[in-house]
């Protein structure tokens, strides 16, 4: 496990922290304002695209809206889609939690990854229904599995979670679990604010 980053203002800022990443990392991000989370995600992907890296955006958002937002942010979406560096996927709106979540996630990611070349930059979580116990439970299992296999993924993966959506009665429990299955944490509560560090 890596050492804690030197706690200075410079690398504690989420964007600067992402800019300084050299090794592949599995990062959990807790946010409150979706716009700020998306900005961080776009900045992270944009830096990768400009370096010629394959970048994956896989969330529950509508693909056309994501493309529009990416363009507004300054990403040349058409160019990067055409040269196959940018991969945008929509995670299904609903999910059958009676199925094995790890197998389902594996199937989805096998398909997504088949068209990519490492090093990768990934911005994705499998579900948004974090207020449901079943959903967050499945998600934490997926994260634990992913973290155990992370050496096989040559890339950096940001898993964004809206703190306000996480099941309120057990919020601390889930946050602790999520932190323990990642190598770095970003707290990005609202625009231009937050902290980031390695665990």
């Amino acid at each position: 496990m890596s050492q804690i980053s030197e706690p200075t203002q410079n690398n504690a800022d989420p964007i600067k922290f992402l800019d300084s990443i050299e090794n592949h990392k599995h990062i959990v991000m807790f946010y409150e304002e979706p716009e700020w989370a998306q900005t961080i995600g776009f900045e992270f992907l944009k830096n990768g695209l400009e370096k010629g890296e394959h970048c994956i955006y896989a969330m529950m958002d509508d693909i056309e809206i994501v493309k529009e937002n990416m363009s507004d942010y300054g990403i040349d979406v058409d160019k990067f889609l055409n040269n196959n560096l940018l991969h945008i996927y929509k995670i299904p709106d609903s999910y059958d939690y009676s199925k094995d979540p790890i197998e389902e996630a594996k199937k989805f990611w096998k398909k997504v990854m088949s068209d990519t070349i490492p090093p990768l930059r990934i911005f994705s979580t499998f579900t948004r229904e974090l207020h449901q116990k079943d959903a967050i439970e499945c998600q934490t299992r997926i994260e634990e599995y992913l973290d155990s296999q992370f050496d096989k993924i040559q890339g950096t993966w940001i898993c964004p979670y809206n703190v306000t959506n996480i099941e309120s009665g057990n919020r601390f429990k889930w946050i602790k679990k999520l932190i323990s299955s990642h190598k770095s944490v970003i707290f990005a509560p609202s625009m231009e604010q937050g902290t980031a560090f390695d665990l």
Partner: protein, 276 residues
């Protein structure tokens, strides 16, 4: 158990003056900016339930505050978050170094709060002061008396300076049968000389001597009388006790019951009896 913990069991809470409230507010905002408002709200309300303390009391208790963060994020992350908050405090002019711990900053604020409280005293305050060393005892009584704008009366082991007249405990106990009356007379006669609108300042720096002389029971009655007397008279009075005397816990409850304020050392802090 420390005296700070003991007196909180007797219903005394830290007297939060503006600088402390400002620090509590700053700590909360800094955490919210660093983590998330939702998390901080939950963290604090969780600890309010656990400890039965107010949000400000939790934020202004460095041990509790760091424990709360540590329970959620673990030791390493907690240390980092606290370090970032220290940097925020420094950048916002609330500390003169980014290396100062929250405890150090708070101790400084509290020390200043104690001094400001006793220097700008308004009258009607009956304060128990449990001192741990002689330097602090002398320092605090000097600060109390030095800006006096009215009359002052002091019973002391050794006095302070020429500007503060005093009688010694030895004089007071020269005839033990009238020691209580002698002290009562001193209080009343000193106060009668006060023709100003400012409070009369009274102090005794070693009240445990009464117990050593076998007059503890009568003195505790006098303490109760003084506490009542001060409600209607513009007098501010500090009763100093050596902490060592309180260590067996025998008289602390009775002493506390006749004072509305308590000043403690390590760290220097002022407490007020919780309003019912």
């Amino acid at each position: 158990m420390s005296l700070h913990q003991i007196i909180s069991q007797y219903g005394f809470v830290p007297l939060l003056e503006n600088p402390e409230k400002k620090l509590a507010e700053f700590l909360r905002t800094s955490l919210e900016k660093r983590l998330s408002k939702t998390l901080v709200d939950e963290l604090i309300s969780n600890y309010i339930q656990k400890t039965n303390k107010s949000a400000d009391e939790i934020l202004l208790n460095p041990e509790l505050f760091s424990k709360a963060i540590e329970e959620l994020f673990g030791e390493k992350v907690s240390k980092l978050i606290l370090k970032l908050i220290q940097e925020d405090l420094f950048e916002n002019g609330m500390s003169d170094s980014a290396d100062n711990s929250i405890k150090k900053i708070l101790d400084e604020i509290r020390k200043n709060s104690v001094l400001e409280f006793i220097q700008k005293i308004k009258g009607h305050e009956h304060i128990a002061f449990f001192w741990a060393n002689n330097d602090l005892r002398r320092y605090l009584f000097s600060e109390f008396f030095k800006n006096a704008k009215s009359v002052k009366g002091f019973i002391s082991m050794e006095g302070l300076d020429d500007a503060t007249p005093y009688i010694t405990y030895d004089e007071l106990f020269s005839n033990k049968s009238d020691s209580i009356e002698k002290e009562k007379d001193l209080i009343i006669s000193t106060h009668k000389k006060n023709t100003t609108s400012f409070p009369t300042l009274l102090g005794g720096d070693n009240c445990d001597r009464w117990f050593e002389e076998g007059l503890g029971h009568d003195f505790l009655k006098l303490e109760k009388y003084v506490d009542k007397f001060l409600e209607n008279e513009s007098i501010s009075c500090i009763c100093g006790y050596n902490e060592l005397f309180l260590s067996n816990g025998e008289h602390i409850g009775e002493i506390l019951s006749s004072h509305k304020y308590v000043i403690l050392d390590n760290p220097l802090m002022i407490y007020k009896r919780r309003e019912k």
